[in-house]
């Protein structure tokens, strides 16, 4: 028996000025089915879902709901048709309470006479959050929640309206393992209730497991539909990128030995959510950190970057300090006298971001929009911002040097932009991620703290990034890789540390025997 079509697009097209983001796409979403949408970064997935949920105007073509034409002018029109969407970027608004964020744009619901009935709103918000198992004080500001919890608030908001079509745009990579399990469960429940789900993700194995059918997009064009029984990883990948993917995904060696030279260290560190952490990062090592939400792994990244105050212990970095102007002068004199500089590395206490950067420590935050990128600035300005010192010659930064530097990153990470002067806000999610990654790879940081560096990037670019990380490792860079993706940790790390409730509970060395199941055992 055929399932009933809920939503259908006919020649759906979206143009942003000169850029054709979506080009005559025909697609169907059926009731009682989870539909996957896959394609490289910038292939138009978010743009399609934004048009369906009334965030973007349609340029041409039509959308039909239950065979009736539907032209949403704003998100409220979509809500009326029972369409809810979790956006790829941050969809919560800072400095409002959690409850207000749950009912963003719909406060009227609680209006009695002219005032909003706060109490009722709190109660309802609490109820909405139960669906995502988030137990927090809803009167508190949304700023008190971490990145993942904020995503859960958005999910709660979407579910509250009892959607017939639930759109999930690239959310799973923002969630930890349990969060993922939760959202999978929600999607399956909706399916069993004969609702429709449109699911966007770059995790192909996840899509193949969850979805009943898949639509592949490339450069804004519809390429092909796959039904569940046709699913084949290689074939789907090929349709996605339009060519054969070559090379290994992760590194292929199982050599986890390192130089033994410690370059970065946490000693008995306690801080917000962290208990007595000890870790050593060696030169030329990739050290993976994994855990569930609440394990403190993201906080650990911030602590190592000097971004969270310690309550006990210390973070030490071993001598990469960039000499100050006067030291440089001094050293030059030294050089003339003795002919060499002392290679002795001595530990420096890292207490703030300034010392971190001076010692060539770089940090890619998970919350790229708020903490890493300058959304209003151009691609070029974003890429060069943390490398200004490198580009500076005699106090001047020439256009030429900047352009060369930016172009190198754009080419090596395949950043899709109309020009390097395009504002970053206009880029697709994955391409933004490439920029926050690229901005630290290009400058001279010798120690990199990468929090979910491949979040939301497509397989092709992921391969590139892994290759880059491996090259960096070979060149003696040291990398702290914090990630929710266990496969990534297993695939790339020399050692893996697992965290639970703010403490490190288990260490694995690189070996063929380590697999996802073993890791999960120690995480929960």
């Amino acid at each position: 028996m055929d399932k009933e079509v809920f939503l259908e697009t006919v020649n759906l097209t979206k143009k942003f000025d000169e850029v054709l983001a979506v080009d005559k796409v025909n697609m169907q979403v059926k009731l009682g089915e989870i539909k996957g949408l896959i394609g490289e970064n910038g292939s138009g997935k978010s743009t399609i879902s934004a048009m369906i949920s009334g965030l973007h105007r349609i340029t041409s073509g039509d959308i039909y709901i239950n065979k009736k034409k539907y032209t949403p002018k704003n998100p409220l029109d979509a809500r009326e048709k029972k369409i809810s969407m979790i956006v790829q970027e941050t969809g919560t608004i800072n400095n409002l309470s959690i409850a207000e964020n749950v009912f963003l744009g719909d406060e009227v619901r609680f209006k009695k006479n002219t005032f909003v009935n706060r109490k009722k709103m709190m109660v309802e918000a609490k109820k909405a959050l139960e669906a995502v198992e988030l137990d927090v004080d809803v009167t508190k500001s949304i700023n008190t929640l971490n990145f993942e919890q904020r995503k859960l608030v958005e999910i709660a908001r979407a579910l509250y309206y009892n959607p017939t079509l639930f759109i999930v745009d690239e959310t799973t990579t923002a969630l930890s393992h349990e969060g993922r399990v939760l959202i999978h469960r929600i999607m399956r429940r909706l399916k069993s209730e004969n609702k429709a789900v449109l699911f966007i993700s770059h995790d192909l194995s996840e899509l193949m497991e969850i979805c009943d059918s898949l639509t592949v997009l490339r450069d804004g064009n519809f390429i092909r539909d796959f039904e569940k029984e046709q699913f084949d990883e290689n074939e789907i990948k090929q349709e996605m990128v339009g060519r054969e993917l070559e090379g290994d995904f992760y590194r292929s060696d199982y050599d986890g030995t390192s130089t033994g030279q410690v370059v970065f260290q946490a000693k008995n560190v306690s801080a917000q959510g962290l208990k007595n952490i000890n870790l050593e990062l060696h030169k030329g090592e990739i050290l993976g950190i994994g855990g569930l939400s609440g394990s403190g792994m993201h906080e650990l990244g911030k602590v190592m970057y000097g971004n969270i105050r310690l309550s006990a212990g210390e973070v030490l970095v071993y001598g990469h300090e960039t000499p100050s102007f006067f030291q440089k002068l001094w050293k030059q004199k030294d050089k003339q006298n003795t002919g060499n500089m002392s290679p002795e590395a001595k530990p420096i206490r890292l207490t703030n971001i300034k010392t971190a950067i001076a010692n060539k420590v770089g940090y890619v935050s998970k919350d790229r929009d708020q903490e890493t990128l300058i959304l209003e600035a151009s691609v070029k300005d974003n890429l060069t911002l943390s490398a200004l010192d490198k580009l500076d010659s005699y106090g001047l930064i020439t256009q030429k040097a900047e352009k060369r530097f930016a172009q190198e990153q754009i080419d090596s990470l395949l950043i899709k932009c109309s020009s390097m002067n395009q504002t970053v806000r206009e880029l697709s999610g994955g391409n933004k991620q490439k920029i926050s990654f690229g901005k630290w790879i290009g400058n001279d940081s010798k120690i990199l703290i990468l929090d979910s560096p491949t979040r939301g990037v497509d397989v092709g670019v992921k391969t590139k990034m892994y290759q880059l990380l491996y090259d960096l490792k070979q060149q003696g860079y040291s990398i702290l890789l914090i990630s929710e993706e266990l496969q990534e940790l297993i695939g790339m790390s020399d050692r893996i540390l697992l965290m639970k409730d703010g403490a490190i509970t288990k260490e694995f060395h690189r070996s063929e025997k380590v697999d996802e199941k073993t890791l999960i055992q120690y995480m929960i």
């Binding site: 790829q88 450069d219 971001i353 959304l375 209003e376 200004l388 109309s418």
Partner: protein, 336 residues
Amino acid sequence: MKEVTHINGANARSGGLSKFLQFTKANKNIFIQYSSLILVFSFFMIMSNGDLLSVVNLQTIIRQLAVLFIITVGLMFVFSHGNMDISVGGVIALTSMIVTFTLNAGASLFVATLVAIVVSVGCYLLNIFIANQFKLMAVIASLAIMFSTRGVVTYMVSTSNESIKVEDISKLALFSSNLTFTITSLIVIAIVGIVLFNYSKIGKQNKAVGDNPLAAMQSGVDVKKSKVISYLIAGIMIGFASMFSLARSYTVSENSGMGLEMDVIVALVLGGMALSGGSKSKISSAIVGSITLVLLNNGLIMIGVRPEIVSLVKGIIFLIVVFFILRRPRTEVIPR
């Protein structure tokens, strides 16, 4: 990026127009910037039968321009942080007064200029110090500076028996009647401003801080230092501008420099600057904007508009331009 390959007949015909529309949309602020200059210029050229460009009037314009031009370029560094300053009038009054005392005490012009820069830098560093120390918005701190500088000047003027004025006005000749020096100064300041703003770490970090201080910090920008540097630059330029200001009247009264703070803001807005600062800020806003405003002032007076009405006209133009700048399409702000 994917090219738009299939342009059909209808599109091809309207291609030229739509290209033009897109171009204007993409360069809206640049458009405002130059169109207001062109508009003001052509309007008064016509109204004054070309007298606007007469040698005498050009000289007047350049003299009027000197002060506003220099302080606007200087304050650009503060405004691009998204900060606002309303103390500049007061600071200029105080600086002029101290310079007057210095000159009257027999100091050379060189020493007096140094004193001007020191005083003005002092005021601006105090401004950012207060803002940082008490975690105030910089504009509130500048309000405090405005009242205190203005207060000191008013007090001194009211307690001294005779008016405070430069006794030997020939000392200030360089700033008052040497047009070559004035023009050279303006060009040099424009170049310094452009280089610092566009081709140096200072300007680039400035813009990043204006947009997203958190991300800027995590990218290695010392946010506090960046702010202090911007106030330092403003201080130096405003100190220098004080010399031109004093050289126009030789006297200091409680009204010296009054209204300059508003002129700076109007000039920036006329120059297409979004007052929220950030990456969209352009140093050309300061340059073009201050020229536009001076032309406007000069032109209005020339065609016989009473000075009291000039302010009103400025206010209305300010509103219109702000309206155009703030009207951003909705799609620019929604999250995806």
